[in-house]
């Protein structure tokens, strides 16, 4: 089956989420029965930006056989419906039976537009997809931010799928060849450009919650806005940042940008040190990808202890200052 995949570019070339989506697209393309006498299936990528910024060899390493690029002269910047219209136009060029994108804000939005433009269903945050004998796809996808998995049948032509950003690993191919990079001119409708992004630089250059190596988490057990100073100091000593539970943001103790969880940020640190947090599943949805979880909690029966590696049973107001003192002494 031929598959078309939306690729998001960044300073490093291609975003991690898009490499995962390409890996997913490749396994979907090669998973079905090959047409007799046909050459291998097409894994087509489409990216938006200057052609000389499209990293052909990186795309080749992730199994892309044809790369299409829409240059700024044809479509400048992010306009979700125009990007979807471009994908729609590429369906007949690539003969794609499925369109895949990363389950990011951008990928989800563009594929939702494509679903509306084509009148087809879209399966969000997929983990697997494989063709069935009747031409449908058997998919598994995340619900509840990954707390549940839905096994489903996706019956649409083209099949539209976004890929969970935190589960499918990015895997390169063994026999990579650079794909040709073809400049594509999309056929757009004026209404496609009604909504388009003006992009400005982010606010601060500090360590971001999503990518921090160490996150010191604080929950209701911190007790109030003043209780966060020792957590901040500990995070500084560990070269990390503070993350919080929803109770903390809904009380207004800390801004929502620091919230970890289903409706906050998903974190992927080496160490998550969760202090005064009970471990509600919506919170765990945001930190399940942490390499190590260490807990400080007064309650040995708190649910978070059954999802953590190590725990200290005790009052965080006592343990954290003692830990800060010990780390300072060591330095």
């Amino acid at each position: 089956m031929n598959v078309l995949c939306l690729v998001e570019l960044d300073e490093a070339g291609v975003t991690d989420a898009s490499l995962r989506a390409l890996t997913f697209a490749r396994s979907l393309a090669t998973g079905g029965p090959a047409a007799p006498g046909a050459t291998g299936p097409v894994v087509a990528a489409v990216a938006f930006g200057p052609a000389d910024r499209v990293p052909a060899s990186l795309l080749g390493r992730y199994g892309v056989t044809e790369a299409y690029v829409v240059e700024p002269s044809a479509l400048d910047g992010y306009a979700p419906q125009a990007w979807a219209r471009t994908l729609e136009g590429l369906l007949s060029v690539t003969l794609a039976a499925a369109v895949v994108a990363a389950g990011t804000d951008c990928g989800s939005e563009v594929l939702a537009h494509l679903g509306a433009l084509t009148g087809q269903p879209m399966a969000a945050n997929c983990l697997t997809a494989s063709p069935e004998a009747d031409g449908t796809l058997a998919v598994s996808r995340q619900r509840w931010a990954g707390l549940l998995i839905e096994d489903a049948i996706l019956d649409g032509t083209p099949a539209l799928l976004t890929v969970a950003t935190d589960v499918v690993p990015p895997v390169p191919v063994d026999d990579a060849a650079d794909p040709a990079v073809l400049v594509h001119e999309p056929d757009l409708d004026p209404a496609d450009l009604r909504v388009r992004a003006a992009v400005s630089a982010g606010r601060d250059g500090g360590v971001s919650l999503a990518t921090a190596r160490v996150v010191v988490g604080g929950g209701r057990g911190v007790g109030g806005p003043d209780g966060f100073a020792p957590l901040e100091e500990l995070a500084r000593l560990l070269g990390g940042v503070v993350g919080v539970s929803r109770v903390v943001t809904s009380q207004g103790w800390r801004p929502h940008t620091q919230q970890v969880g289903q409706t906050g940020t998903k974190i992927t640190p080496e160490l998550y040190l969760a202090c005064g947090i009970s471990g509600a599943i919506q919170h765990m949805a945001g930190c399940a990808s942490a390499k190590h979880i260490v807990v400080i909690n007064t309650d040995p029966a708190a649910p978070i202890l059954s999802r953590a590696d190590y725990a200290v049973i005790g009052d965080l107001a006592e343990v954290i200052p003692a830990l800060v003192a010990a780390l300072k002494e060591r330095a």
Binding site: A145, G146, E150, Y310
Partner: protein, 255 residues
């Protein structure tokens, strides 16, 4: 300014999520229900907009008869009107949900002042389909922005911002429009006592939209394997600090 907000009733699951024996639903015998968090913020945003610019907030849900509770929660926060689209006991997919919302917006426009702004959550907490708002926008032919965390409504236009990959994206477009928001756009207020009393007495309009089959068909739900086991306890109170420091050293997170 006529603002409509679409909300969804979702289970309030706490420490564990359990699937019913037939694999078709989340077991909600032990849980309460609430408005999905992004939509709670959408209600708050709508109320703030009409507090500034005047007008009314209509809150709309597609759900079972019991979803009237969530409509009353929204009324208690300051919404003025409530509409329940009864789901007839079926699970509705994103295309059918969008079609029912579009029909309701059109019905309203035919009867009186139409809607200037339609707010939804970016994604429902339970199904996480990430598309209802966009499909509604196409159905109405309106512009659409998703994942919005900062919104300014200016007379006949909207300026909507979100953060994406460390940068800020700003979208500007005219009304009427569809905007999906995320938690963090505001801090929802607590309902006042008079608000609660008013919500209790308020009438709720009810309609029965026609269910339609979808191309994405659920076979079963399951809980993913959970790799982590019970935590090893390092110790109690400040006495555990030396063991904790050794652990941090072993994990390689000390500079």
């Amino acid at each position: 300014m006529e603002v409509a907000v679409c909300v969804k009733r979702v289970p309030q699951v706490g420490g564990r999520i359990v699937v019913t024996p037939d694999g078709q639903d989340v077991d909600t015998r032990m849980s309460g229900f609430a408005i999905s968090p992004h939509e709670e913020c959408a209600v708050e945003e709508a109320v703030q907009i009409t507090e500034r610019l005047g007008g009314t907030v209509s809150v709309l849900t597609l759900g079972p008869a019991e979803a009237a509770d969530q409509l009353r929660d929204a009324l208690a926060l300051g919404a003025h009107r409530a509409v329940l689209l009864e789901d007839g006991g079926r699970e509705w997919g994103p295309a059918g949900t969008a079609a029912a919302i579009v029909a309701e917006v059109r019905r309203r426009a035919a009867e009186g002042p139409g809607c200037d702004l339609l707010l939804l959550g970016n994604e429902a907490a339970d199904t996480g389909d990430y598309q209802v708002g966009v499909r509604v926008a196409h159905g109405l032919g309106w512009p659409c922005a998703t994942g919005i965390k900062h919104l300014e409504i200016t007379g006949d236009g909207a300026r909507a911002r979100r953060e994406y990959r460390g940068r800020e994206e700003t979208f500007e477009f005219g009304l009427p429009a569809v905007i999906t928001v995320k938690e963090g756009i505001n801090l929802p207020r607590y309902p006042s006592l008079p608000g609660r009393l008013r919500a209790k007495r308020a009438a709720i309009e009810q309609y029965q939209p026609q269910w339609q089959p979808e191309g994405l068909r659920k076979r079963a739900l399951r809980v993913p394997d959970q790799p982590r086991q019970q935590a090893t306890v390092l110790g109690t109170g400040a006495d555990a600090v030396p063991a904790l420091v050794r652990l941090l050293e072993e994990l390689g997170v000390l500079k």
